[in-house]
Symmetry: C2
Subunit: 304 residues, 2 copies
């Protein structure tokens, strides 16, 4: 089935205890689509870049048959740029530079070949833009998932609640779940958030895994145990890409399917954080993924 | 099989966002033995209390057939007393009072009826005392587990390393694993710690679950999802009690058995934190435990 992805395509500059990159490929839409591409064939990416966006990065997508009909290139503008520095614990970071550039005027238009996409993933963006994309769809996708962040809870509360009421899966981190619900304990927070509209809530806890909730069930997916984390940038978006790529490849949606999709998401995210930027997402093979899935099953399974 | 437990029996005073207790029953030895007692019959507890220790608390143990031959009552002294206040997040606390009292001169003597105990659990104590208990055993237990804390890494490093080299299972939290190994990433930390002697390492991560390592394998046990946490005191010791109670009830030790033991430990700990002190450990039934085990399996299981 087809997967439509809306999200930023950016240039990033990242510093971690393991090193510092120059300007490299980044952005939510980038990580989501490169991750999903390992699991599903038909992917449409909607985003915008400036005239400074390197041709070789465009080729990364094109060589992977990710459809860029919906990627606008504003030749006279500059690509969204983000620079950040991670602390030694890799769990906290300082944003050094955020230049919205071309993203400031981003007004996504769903191209004709994606108006009936089966699955829709809305990367973290202004809620009003996320809503606009949903409204453009000619048929309601089988599943709409969205990511968001605390920033929109402070600046666009009403819009955020409206788009949350229109979707099926919300992915946020634990702090954001607390902020959105006003509840400290995640189990209670989840029920409040589900009452806002989504059928499923995924709470991302970074190195501590991720939780899935619907009204009646919960699932705790541990994170992969890694020798080291080199650069956490893109982990959440890679997770979302793996999640939606798996679901689109299966074509079915249920609590069971989403559980498995989270395992794929965790496995793909584990590759991302072991290298800088998209290095590993661009490099890994089906065999690498299968090997790590086996490891995941071994680490997370028990039989009483 | 029989389980010998060495650990503090204390009076605690706890304040959390949910309320404040008076002086209540506490201590590592208390939580470990009350938890283990739900899973195994023959338990010997070695500890020491003062003349102020309430008879009704002694009865809690006696009514549960926990053997107190090794519990010394120093009539002229006072029981170990600890008071603490938890912050709103329940993950951090301030220690308000620590009065070692009778615990300062604690010199555990293994009573004759426990010299051949099959399983030995050493609660957090001075490493030299833990070592002394191991040396008193007439036959080497099938499994020796010990808990410790960062304090001994600062004050009794050599003794700590010596006792760690004598045991089979070490249980510590993630920060302590980092401190003990000098490694930030837990997977690497685990291999360094296993090289110090223990066959198994359990890293406790509180609300994020617990990890088990041996040289070749890893297992990630999630924590139960709870509506709320009322008082985290004793969670780690309850976990250890469930762990060792289960293993003693099975009589066998393997990676597989320890995985399952961790599930029992997590389930019992979940009851402890839902109430103040030992309230819930004293109250729960086999049916309660089984129900929560079923919930745990539902939340932690998947089938790719």
């Amino acid at each position: 089935m087809s997967l439509l992805i809306v999200g930023s395509v950016a240039l990033d500059e990242v510093e971690t205890p393991f090193g510092k990159t120059g300007r490299i490929l980044g952005g939510a839409g980038t990580y989501i689509s490169l991750a999903a591409r390992h699991l599903v064939k038909e992917i449409h990416l909607i985003s915008v870049v400036g005239g400074d966006f390197p041709q070789k990065y465009l080729d990364y997508f094109r060589h992977r048959q990710i459809d860029l009909t919906g990627l606008k290139i504003e030749e006279d503008e500059k690509t969204f740029f983000w620079a950040g520095r991670y602390h030694d614990d890799m769990n906290t970071r300082d944003t050094l530079v955020t230049e919205l550039n071309v993203l400031a005027g981003f007004n996504p238009v769903v191209p004709p070949n994606a108006l009936h996409a089966d699955f829709l993933m809305l990367g973290n963006l202004t809620p009003a833009i996320q809503k606009g994309v949903i409204q453009q769809m000619k048929t309601r996708p089988k599943l709409i998932a969205m990511d968001t962040m605390n920033f929109w809870m402070h600046t666009a509360w009403d819009d955020l609640l409206e788009v949350i009421s229109m979707i099926d899966v919300l992915t946020i981190n634990d702090e954001e779940a607390r902020m959105l619900s006003g509840e400290y304990f995640i189990k209670k927070a989840a029920q409040k958030i589900l009452a806002m509209g989504p059928k499923y809530l995924i709470v991302k806890k970074g190195e501590h895994g991720a939780l899935l909730f619907d009204k009646d069930n919960a699932f705790y997916a541990p994170a992969m145990l890694l020798d080291q984390v080199v650069d956490p940038t893109g982990a959440g978006d890679t997770f979302a890409g793996g999640l939606m790529g798996y679901l689109a490849s299966q074509g079915e949606v249920s609590f069971h399917h989403i559980k498995n999709a989270m395992v794929y998401g965790s496995v793909l995210a584990s590759f991302t954080v072991e290298g800088f930027g998209t290095d590993n997402l661009l490099k890994i093979t089906q065999k690498d993924i299968q090997k790590r899935l086996d490891e995941f099953v071994a680490v997370a399974s028990f039989r009483l």
